[in-house]
């Protein structure tokens, strides 16, 4: 079996096992919240922050409330249990398709869609982001919220995002990257690689790339209005909050029930904080538009 296949199976199993716990404690958005640096938060703010992450991402991409500019068809690449899909479908009245490697997630996503009266607007498939089961140019908005870090071949991943984007459509890619390399650097420092390797192992991540790697890929595909930003300071409160939730009684018991993969993922959380603090890990947003 190829390493890509092993990775895929690992990702599917990790999320099959962990999704329930995450949803139970954090709700249906499986991504970071967006916070103002240096403000104070309470536990209830985190859900609002996760919604804000979606809104800030749309704003960064220049997708406004003007009716003609709003997307009508959306693909959610790495959709989790469909939090973004449902939110975007509701917000834009758009048709949204989500893809995930996890059958458990797809099923849960469909149930939630039905419960929220969105079964006509959103649908979920088990599929590979590197080989999306859609014809070219299908979607006004291609949305990848914190799934890029799971993709093994970044060029293939970006190619597929580009392929399914409709002319004039937008890509919004929010993902974990490592810091950009300096002009004389060939790669990260050994200690940085070691840190990332430990995280990769627990979260079923392939090798990381940098924000500018993504920008270069999109430039090579002739996308326009390519914008990138480092939002690391806007997500800083998130991991400490997740760790605190693991130490509540509910969190702890849920962890024990969920399985080894989930527990391993939980144990590695301090490394994420370390990675951000030491400037190795960057929370990046990259957006662009396909020419008409």
């Amino acid at each position: 079996m190829s390493s890509d296949r092993v990775l895929q199976d690992g990702i599917a199993e990790f999320y099959d096992q962990s999704s329930g716990l995450w949803e139970d404690i954090w709700g249906d958005h499986m991504h970071h919240g967006f916070y103002d640096p240096a403000s104070n938060f309470s536990a209830s703010d985190h859900r609002a922050a996760q919604i804000r992450m979606i809104e800030e991402s749309l704003r960064f991409a220049g997708i406004t409330d003007e009716p003609e500019k709003q997307p009508k068809t959306i693909v959610d690449v790495g959709c989790g249990i469909g939090g973004s899909s449902r939110y975007l479908a509701r917000k834009f009245g758009a048709e949204c398709h989500g893809i995930t490697l996890s059958p458990v997630q797809a099923e849960r996503a469909n149930v939630l869609a039905k419960d929220e009266g969105l079964a006509d607007k959103v649908s979920f498939q088990v599929a590979d982001a590197l080989k999306q089961p859609f014809p070219d140019g299908q979607f006004d908005l291609v949305w990848s919220m914190e799934s890029g870090e799971h993709m093994p071949e970044k060029a293939k991943f970006v190619n597929e995002l580009a392929r399914v984007t409709a002319p004039g459509g937008a890509i919004i890619l929010v993902t974990w990257c490592h810091r950009d390399l300096g002009p004389s650097e060939e790669s990260l420092q050994p200690w940085e690689k070691k840190l990332l390797d430990r995280i990769c192992n627990a979260y079923y991540l392939p090798e990381w790339c940098s924000t500018s790697d993504y920008v270069k890929l999109l430039q090579s595909l002739s996308f326009q209005d390519i914008k990138a930003a480092d939002w690391s300071e806007h997500v800083a409160p998130f991991w400490p909050a997740v760790i605190r939730s693991a130490f509540t009684w509910k969190g702890f018991m849920s962890l024990l029930r969920s399985g080894l993969k989930t527990i391993k993922g939980a144990l590695v959380m301090p490394l994420m904080i370390q990675g951000y603090q030491k400037g190795v890990i960057k929370f990046a947003i990259i957006t662009c538009r396909k020419p008409e």
Partner: protein, 124 residues
């Protein structure tokens, strides 16, 4: 899986030039009622491959759709037609069955309404 979804899926197996539309193998069709939204239907109509859609609806057991796409003006005024369009597009679900690549015949299983489009290594 609704037919709206079916209209957006294609086979991306290596070497396949035209993977759309996927053929449908029915094991279980379920009807799920959904509130009709005329504006949504009018907006989505231009994006639908009508032939693939109407063929698929017949395989799912629904014979009310014309083979030829209607003129867009029909969607403005014909409420009865909108109802049929809505029913076929959004209310018929392939709960169990398969989607087949039109060129290779390879089966993508549909289970609990969810298509599994993952390819094997030699198909990529």
């Amino acid at each position: 899986m609704r037919l709206l979804t079916h209209n957006m899926l294609s086979s991306n197996i290596k070497g396949v030039t035209n993977g759309f539309p996927l053929r449908i193998e029915v094991e279980k069709v379920v009807e799920k009622q959904v509130e009709i939204n005329h504006d949504f239907l009018r907006n989505i109509f231009p994006k639908i491959d009508w032939k693939a859609f109407s063929d698929a609806s017949r395989i799912m057991g629904y014979n009310e759709l014309p083979e030829e796409p209607p003129e867009p003006s029909v969607l403005e005024s014909d409420v009865e037609f909108l109802g049929k369009f809505h029913h076929a597009l959004l209310e018929l679900h392939l709960e169990e069955g398969a989607l087949l690549c039109p060129e290779t015949g390879r089966k993508f299983p549909v289970s609990k309404g969810i298509p599994n489009m993952l390819l094997l290594e030699d198909e990529v």
